[in-house]
Symmetry: C2
Subunit: 454 residues, 2 copies
């Protein structure tokens, strides 16, 4: 049995929804379908979720969001009409939206979640209705009915562990299950959503709970690419990845899947396949626990900007028991999370996302490090990018580091930092942000275009 999730562009209009349904019907294993809200039809279009947010905000501000509500209804109506469905479903959707607007607005986050969730919820109803209209046995299943329980962190909720047991009820449903992504319900029955992009997570939870053979994540690209197509021209597709390769890549800028998506399937050992709704015959990228790999083989190069480095030095630091722990405690006290802490003998660097250092915090941290740790020097270097090279075959490698650093040196890129070996499958470089693009290109050329090694 397969769980298949379809993203917003796959549901943007009737033509796309027909594609989705033909994909679903082409494989009888595709039993559970998770859908996003309708996305953009073209680059100038607005996603239904964004229309819903605008509608909710207008309502909160003025008490009247008739025009914004109408815009949402019109999107659904256009799709329904093109799918040949009668106005009954459009009326139902309109009435659903009107009911949501009547909800308690005293807790803004809770109200917003109820509004945002309407995109996925009505999208699922629409797809189920279309499948029924063409004679297929399909059923919209609500997360409430299925017992998808969430924490009450509205807008950033987490699934509650008991959901996995509850969701097994889906197995008893005959025909194709159409399940809305992105949201669930708190224990006292309120809608609560994952972060934006969270339909991926819903699909992963369902695949894990139902012990699916495969979790298919249909999106608008043929595969995961070895580098970002915005940085490298026509990068190669990657046929297979391990969970941890995908996680390293997605953390460092590969946004194919929502960052939290892999946890449930990783825990349950369900493989994932990234596929393209618009080109379903392309093999896509399969993600699972292990794969065959050859030594030194690199699968991807990712980069992420917006980092800074706190550099701390103190003569004889390494003699001071607890120095590192005290330093990390200061950051924890100030609510700062960090990425890496490479250290020398008398110095330590802390790499972190610089958007955490709001006005005042940066100086406060510097002052605390100076005062409490009596350091010789503390400074912050801004605007760094992290470049990572990922591949299971890199463990204990002879030569990968040499190839990478030589490629970067030939491109005259100054390396602020190298970190290899902590993770067995990645090598990390810090460079100035304005050199990151050049760095990715030079590494891509070395590892993917260099004929010597192919």
């Amino acid at each position: 049995m397969k769980v298949a999730k379809f993203g917003g562009t796959s549901l943007a209009n009737a033509e796309q929804i027909k594609k989705v349904c033909s994909i679903v019907l082409a494989d009888s294993e595709r039993k559970v379908i998770v859908v996003s809200a309708p996305g953009k039809r073209d680059s100038s279009d607005t996603k239904v979720t964004d229309l819903l947010i605008a509608c909710a905000q207008k309502h909160l501000q003025t008490g009247n969001a008739d025009a914004e509500l109408e815009a949402v209804v019109k999107r659904f109506k256009d799709i329904a009409n093109e799918l040949g469905l009668d106005d009954e479903i459009v009326k139902m959707i309109k009435s659903d939206l009107e009911e949501r607007l009547k909800l308690d607005t005293s807790h803004t986050g809770m109200f917003m979640d109820a509004m945002k969730a309407a995109g996925e919820d009505n999208s699922a109803k629409l797809v189920a209705a279309y499948l029924n209209s063409i004679g297929e046995k399909a059923e919209y299943v609500s997360p409430k009915k299925a017992g998808l329980l969430m924490s009450d962190e509205f807008g950033n909720a987490q699934v509650l562990p008991e959901s996995y047991e509850n969701l097994k009820m889906i197995n008893s449903i005959e025909g194709i299950v159409i399940f809305p992504g992105f949201f669930g319900y708190t224990k006292d029955g309120k809608v609560a959503t994952f972060p934006r992009g969270g339909s991926d997570i819903t699909g992963s939870i369902l695949a894990a709970a139902l012990k699916a053979d495969l979790y298919e994540n249909f999106t608008d690209v043929d595969a995961v690419y070895a580098a970002h197509p915005g940085l490298v021209h026509n990068p190669v597709a990657v046929p297979e990845l391990t969970y941890r390769e995908m996680r390293e890549l997605s953390y460092a800028g590969f946004s194919v899947l929502h960052e939290d998506t892999l946890v449930p399937v990783f825990m349950a050992g369900v493989p994932v396949c990234i596929k393209n709704t618009n080109n379903p015959s392309a093999p896509g990228t399969k993600i699972s626990l292990t794969r065959d790999y050859s030594p030194n083989h690199v699968v991807g190069i990712a980069s992420d900007a917006g980092f800074c480095c706190i550099y701390v030095s103190k003569f004889m630091m390494n003699r001071e028991v607890g120095f590192g722990r005290k330093l990390l405690q200061i950051l924890e006290d100030e609510g700062i999370s960090y990425e890496h802490t490479p250290s020398g003998i008398d110095n330590i660097s802390i790499i972190l996302k610089q958007n955490q250092l709001k006005a005042g915090i940066e100086q406060k941290i510097i002052d605390r490090i100076k005062d409490e740790l009596k350091v010789d020097d503390v400074s912050i270097d801004h605007d760094l990018a992290m470049i990572i090279i990922v591949g299971e075959g890199m463990k204990n490698t002879v030569g990968t580091a040499s190839r990478a650093t030589t490629a970067l040196a030939k491109a005259s890129i100054s390396l602020e930092m190298i970190n290899q070996g902590s993770s067995e499958i990645t090598m990390m470089f810090a460079v100035r942000e304005n050199e990151a693009h050049k760095a990715v290109i030079s590494l891509y050329n070395e590892f993917f275009l260099n004929k010597l090694y192919k």
Copy 2:
């Protein structure tokens, strides 16, 4: 004014002491002379300090150490006679040793320190007597008289801060001051020593307290070499180093100076010169706060063995606030100090000296990490060596990493870890211990013999 310290081989016999005195007298700035105990005259000889330790231990075990005492006295007597000094000083030294043997033995460490210190103390008296005998104005100054106060951690004592003020009394002494290295006195008047090799530290403290223009450290090598002569044939001498370059090198296996030596002179900004008693015209190696350097210029390559790596992985580790701090807390609880903590996204490695992991501790740490941090995996990799390349010119370098990793790859050396950039002046590689020698040679050849870059 210069403080000059002479090591044990420089004081091993009369001929060496004459060399020392001619060096001292050749420069009227050499006002304060710190001496070690007489060292080995040849490779089969025993150092006076070791004779003293044997004497003290025999006394503790049997109450009779007459033969061992005689061996110590004979060393001093031979030197005194060859220097043409009368037996008066030999009698004084013998009587001093006999008095020490009568000291309270209930605190073994305290007794041992009093015995060990006799080597430096009597060596200083002997040198002062010789200088007087040839008509030079010179005075033995006791650490007690000069106020060199120590903590009561016998055998591993630290200088007390007030010593720096006390020691200024030396400025009022006319003529050359001969000061014994290695020991001072606790506040209640007991002899307390630095760790072995601590005469270097005494010299540094005096140079700092007296604001010397230079601290000359006379030893038995012409200079600091770019690599260990036991690993690389005939390595080049390094003319100039910064304090931090020297500290990185000495931490990673360069044993020219005791590890703690540089702190006092660093704090006071007094430059250091390493010179050879047997070749005083050689320029030696100068160590100071800054030096001119060219980009990419490497000054030294050091290696140190006996490390292990605790590897910890947990899916989504980087989301867990405080994970790193909790991990370091476990190590701190168990009294383990660590060197480096390179981290990936979902994993962290801790590099530490493996001799800390006595029986039982290793398993206890693994169990605590498993139980308390709920990790996916924790393992320990043993028998690693750390290789470091040091040079001020390596900051933000383009090309050094490439040259180093390429040299290592050509030598087929597998890199367990690379850490560059945390310290601005070093690049670190972890390799298997049995590949460390080959790694040092390949890096030395690249950075010091490769004509392309010279």
